[in-house]
């Protein structure tokens, strides 16, 4: 475990990360992982992150060493696309049982490796360490080393037990495994001055292929994409690239930085989400390649392609402008850089009422401010209840977010679009942004919404009937028991506070605002806000009456 601890410390101390670099020395080492709050944590673990980062290598067998939970509950759930082998889609696991936990799982692991190599003969095997074998001390490094020697197939240990940290840390541990065991172990068949690496691009929904035709047109070759639609041989020989682009800087910046140190490959952080960002990225790639010796006309050719594609994209978005006039969007995203999408949404005529900045850097925030002005709310963290209320109050016409908040929007009968990793449409590059706008239009103007928001006509009738027949109607007579029952009633579904408590607080302190009620009681005032307002309006306190 000591080597893993060292790796984790090393990863946290990443000089390539601008955000971390701007912190004072002692904070820098603690990294970005926030301590989890038991009982209110969400998101994946380090193993999850490592698997996500490496699984898009399509011809590799990915073997998970652990009990059934780690692979059995999670395999076959990501939408990366492959142009060749389908081996990556198979789920391999040692499915450790009680005996393995007691006597150690190394034997089972080496048998499993042997079975896979004999049956599937992959160019390489990645072995993922999980919590339970890490706890009982299974040494996967040693098993992998022995297997590599025995079978001649590279068997790569990925040290990523879930409990060492977050998904993001797992991404980086995957990167470390590649750096230590894979990159630079083979040589490419040929090299050209136009070879680049893409790092942190996973080809979800086949997105990479939306941009690849532009590279092909310019003669730029993707020597290796880490890891979308990647092959083992490509990543093993990726150290011969001339330049690199970090597509998702949050996940694998350590690979880019260390490849720069070791092999002198310059890199930049870019994005293919958004029209302007796509152009900037293409420009940067061309510039870096020319700096490293590619012919200078690459830059002119790139500019020509950019001009053509931009004109096409803006023209395609133009017709949506009048339709989107006055429509408000709420953008909640972690993965995709918020401002990449912001520009295109604005160009299409949408008004942005809020955007999340939880994972944004200071520069990101400045950029958002620049693009949107003061009207847009920057959201650090929004609890689902507040999000639901915002949508229910129609403060936004559509929400764009990842799948986790999907049902918050849908249950509030608000259009919603998935722009995170589980989405089934590809939104990358110029084509992708047009597709995004198309999808927003389709969602916003679905005639279904109007029907859904309308209450059933018989509901009002039912309520009237209930009033006549319900025992609550008798309570007006003033019986003591009914009064107790009335006052004990929770005012809201969140069950925080009952009616009596609020009435008492209002009476004894002359409260007039929700804010004040919140201070004197344990009412949260989120979803109950409206109920409290009603109470304040409908029943003026006795003290107030006396004053009058």
């Amino acid at each position: 475990m000591s080597s893993l601890a060292a790796t984790v410390r090393d990863v946290f101390n990443e000089p390539g990360c601008a955000k971390n670099g701007s912190k004072p020395e002692n904070e820098r080492r603690t990294g970005c992982t926030k301590q989890l709050l038991p009982g209110s944590a969400a998101g994946g673990c380090a193993f999850d992150g490592a698997k996500i980062a490496l699984q898009p290598f399509t011809d590799v067998a990915h073997l998970v060493h652990g009990p059934i939970a780690c692979e059995g509950n999670s395999w076959d759930n990501r939408g990366a696309a492959s142009s060749g082998s389908d081996l990556w889609r198979a789920g391999f696991t040692t499915d450790m049982n009680e005996t393995d936990v007691v006597f150690g799982g190394e034997k089972r692991l080496s048998k499993a490796i042997k079975e896979i190599i004999l049956k599937y003969d992959p160019p390489a095997l990645f072995v993922y360490q999980t919590c339970v074998p890490a706890m009982i001390g299974d040494d996967i490094n040693a098993v992998c080393k022995a297997a590599t020697r025995k079978f001649g197939t590279p068997v790569v240990p990925v040290n990523s037990p879930g409990f060492v940290g977050s998904k993001n840390l797992g991404n980086k541990l995957a990167g470390e495994a590649l750096l230590e065991h894979v990159i630079g172990t083979q040589e490419p068949d040929d090299i050209t001055p136009y070879d680049i690496n893409l790092i942190g691009e996973y080809n979800l929904a086949g997105e990479l292929w939306q941009v690849k035709p532009l590279f092909d047109e310019l003669g730029i070759r993707i020597l290796c994409c880490i890891s979308g639609d990647g092959k083992y041989r490509e990543v093993a020989s990726s150290h011969r690239a001339r330049a690199a682009m970090v597509v998702c800087s949050k996940s694998m910046i350590n690979i880019a930085r260390k490849m720069k140190d070791r092999y002198g490959i310059p890199f930049f952080e870019g994005s293919f989400y958004g029209i302007q960002d796509s152009s900037i990225s293409l420009r940067d790639i061309a510039r870096l390649l020319v700096e490293r010796g590619a012919p200078g006309h690459l830059i002119e050719r790139t500019e020509a392609v950019i001009a053509r594609e931009e004109a096409r994209a803006w023209a395609a978005i133009e017709p949506y402008k009048p339709r989107f006039k006055g429509k408000k969007a709420l953008l909640i995203t972690g993965g995709v850089k918020s401002w990449s999408v912001v520009a295109a949404l604005q160009e299409a005529g949408l008004e942005l009422v809020g955007t999340s900045v939880k994972k944004s850097t200071k520069e990101d925030k400045e950029r958002i401010r620049e693009l949107t002005g003061q009207a847009t709310q920057m959201i650090e963290d929004m609890p689902p209840r507040a999000m639901y209320q915002m949508l229910k109050d129609a403060k936004a016409d559509i929400m764009l977010s990842g799948g986790k908040s999907q049902f918050v929007a849908l249950k509030a009968a608000t259009p919603w679009l998935d722009i995170n990793q589980e989405r089934c449409h590809a939104y990358m590059g110029y084509l992708g942004m047009v597709k995004l706008v198309e999808e927003i239009d389709r969602s916003l103007f679905n005639p279904m919404w109007e029907q859904l928001r309308r209450p059933a006509p018989w509901q009002a009738l039912a309520r009237t009937l209930a009033k006549v027949h319900s025992p609550a109607a008798i309570s007006i007579s003033g019986s003591e028991i009914d009064e107790t029952a009335r006052r004990a009633k929770k005012i809201c579904v969140c069950n925080t506070v009952d009616l009596g408590t609020i009435e008492d607080a209002v009476c004894s302190h002359n409260l007039t605002s929700v804010e004040a009620v919140r201070q004197h009681t344990n009412a949260i005032g989120g979803c109950c806000k409206r109920r409290i307002e009603d109470i304040l309006q409908s029943s003026p306190s006795h003290a107030l009456q006396a004053a009058e």
């Binding site: 989890l36 709050l37 038991p38 009982g39 209110s40 944590a41 998101g43 994946g44 673990c45 380090a46 999850d48 073997l63 652990g66 009990p67 059934i68 939970a69 780690c70 059995g72 509950n73 999670s74 395999w75 076959d76 759930n77 198979a90 789920g91 391999f92 696991t93 040692t94 499915d95 049982n97 009680e98 393995d100 936990v101 048998k111 499993a112 042997k114 079975e115 896979i116 004999l118 049956k119 919590c131 339970v132 706890m135 009982i136 037990p161 879930g162 409990f163 060492v164 940290g165 689902p384 209840r385 799948g403 999907q406 049902f407 918050v408 579904v493 969140c494 069950n495 925080t496 979803c527």
Partner: protein, 468 residues
């Protein structure tokens, strides 16, 4: 009589099985205002959460104690305490269901003792029910976790009625196995109500995961059976357990409250439903409503109409034991040959499967046997789609998870009506397959077809199977 085989291989390929703790957590989702809590690392929870969300397309409450490397070494008390307090303060749950995981079981956390200590330290939790169930990942499977959790719910939440409290013969407890969908529960509720019986389902997923739009947002489960209703289950006249996984829960109920229980291992097919309806008629003292006489007639007719297409098919089926037994028995009744049967965990019903052998294994095993034995119908959960594509045979999705089709929660295969709809769906799938893939051409019969093989049922000797 099937022989139960256990696997010889070290590596599970394309797992059929899911882990025990999330099966336990799933059961807690059928309680109202509940928060299931996995005592383990956060990945244990997030994988389960993703699985449930993808299956039901619903917001799913599920929390973690967020064990880290350090807290694992030190023991999980602090994390469990913090998690319970956090959930108590933020989500205001009516009940918290706690399942252990591989991490905390390997570590040997004594959760029962922890809970006692937490209750002592925090008197505000005095009235909050905490139900703990031990569910290590490295033992048993999804179905076992469900069964154990329900048994614990009975032990902790059901009250032993006082001696002089009379039983209400109209009240019936129903303990459904995890292979029943919210749609199945709704169907059962309707059937029981039609006999004048008042059912209490434990757990009741139909209230929480049936995909309805609630009026307000809640961080806990939005429906299901209430804790107060569970407490009164001891006053019912009967307990009906469905699926052999619920035997222990039924026994626990009888031991604690004296309510007699009857186990129905299957509720799909003609005879099991005849038995079920007869039982309801008996305990309610009412004649069978004409509605069910009609439905029975419809099922009989459906079996007549579909047996041309279903009969004689060679089935490869992979499912958890109770679902496997339920479906394969029904299809066997319709003339299907159950050639390849793969399941996840041991169960008493496996020996009675209508196949020669049943293997506790994975989808690779199922695919290999299906291929070598020429099966022409594959039934398993959504993960079987890759195998079906390679085998090029019709594929019917059942059970959990079903993430690549919509409406999984409303599938219905219990009762006369559910069985009728199921045989129609499978027959239509087979008809479509024939139309698309077996249109005769002038050359269809020209080449010499391979001689028809006598159908070998079950597996051959596994050691002789070639490794592809």
């Amino acid at each position: 009589m099937a022989v139960v085989m256990t696997p010889k291989k070290a590596c599970a390929v394309n797992p059929l099985k899911m882990s025990q703790p999330i099966g336990g957590a799933f059961a807690f989702m059928g309680l109202r205002g509940a928060m299931p809590l996995l005592h383990g690392a956060q990945g244990c929870t997030s994988f389960g959460l993703t699985l449930f969300v993808r299956h039901f397309k619903e917001a799913v409450p599920l929390q973690t104690t967020g064990m880290t490397e350090v807290t694992t070494v030190l023991g999980g008390y602090d994390n469990l305490e913090q998690a319970i307090l956090n959930i108590f303060n933020r989500a205001k749950p009516k009940v918290i269901g706690i399942c252990s995981t591989g991490v905390t079981e390997t570590n040997g956390d004594d959760v029962d003792a922890y809970i006692k200590l937490i209750r002592q330290k925090h008197p505000q939790l005095a009235r909050l029910p905490l139900v703990y169930v031990s569910t290590p990942d490295f033992k048993d499977a999804f179905q076992d976790g469900w069964g154990k959790a329900v048994t614990r719910m009975v032990e902790v939440l059901v009250e032993t009625p006082a001696v002089d409290v009379p039983r209400d013969p109209a009240r019936v407890n129903v303990l459904p196995g995890c292979h029943l969908t919210p749609g199945d529960l709704d169907e059962l509720r309707a059937i029981l109500s039609d006999f004048g019986l008042q059912p209490s389902f434990l757990p009741d997923l139909a209230g929480s995961l049936d995909g309805h739009v609630p009026d307000e947002f809640t961080p806990t489960t939005i429906g299901g059976i209430g804790v107060d209703e569970i407490a009164l289950m001891g006053r019912a006249g009967w307990t009906i357990a469905i699926g052999s996984q619920m035997r222990r829960a039924g026994e626990a109920m009888q031991a604690k409250t004296g309510v007699p229980f009857r186990l129905f291992e299957r509720l799909c097919g003609l005879l099991p439903n005849d038995e079920f309806i007869a039982f309801l008629s008996e305990i309610s003292g009412r004649p069978v409503p004409s509605k069910y006489r009609r439905q029975r007639g419809q099922l009989v007719d459906a079996m007549l109409d579909t047996h041309f297409h279903i009969g004689g098919r060679k089935l490869a089926i992979g499912a958890e034991p109770d679902l496997l037994f339920d479906l394969s028995s029904m299809l066997h009744d319709m003339g299907v040959q159950v050639i390849a049967a793969v399941t996840t965990t041991h169960s008493a019903v496996l020996e009675r499967l209508a196949s020669e052998e049943v293997l506790i294994g994975d989808l690779e095993d199922l695919e290999e046997v299906a291929k070598s034995k020429g099966c022409d119908l594959l039934i398993t959960h959504s993960h079987g789609r890759q195998a079906a594509a390679r085998l090029k045979i019709p594929f019917y999705r059942v059970g959990f998870p079903m993430f690549d089709r919509i409406g999984a929660g409303h599938h219905n295969s219990v009762g006369y009506r559910g069985t009728r709809d199921l045989v129609f769906a499978i027959a239509n799938l087979l008809i479509e397959d024939r139309e698309q893939n077996y249109r005769p051409t002038p050359d269809t019969w020209r080449t010499s077809a391979p001689a028809p093989r006598p159908c070998l049922r079950g597996f051959t000797d596994r050691t002789e199977r070639p490794i592809p």
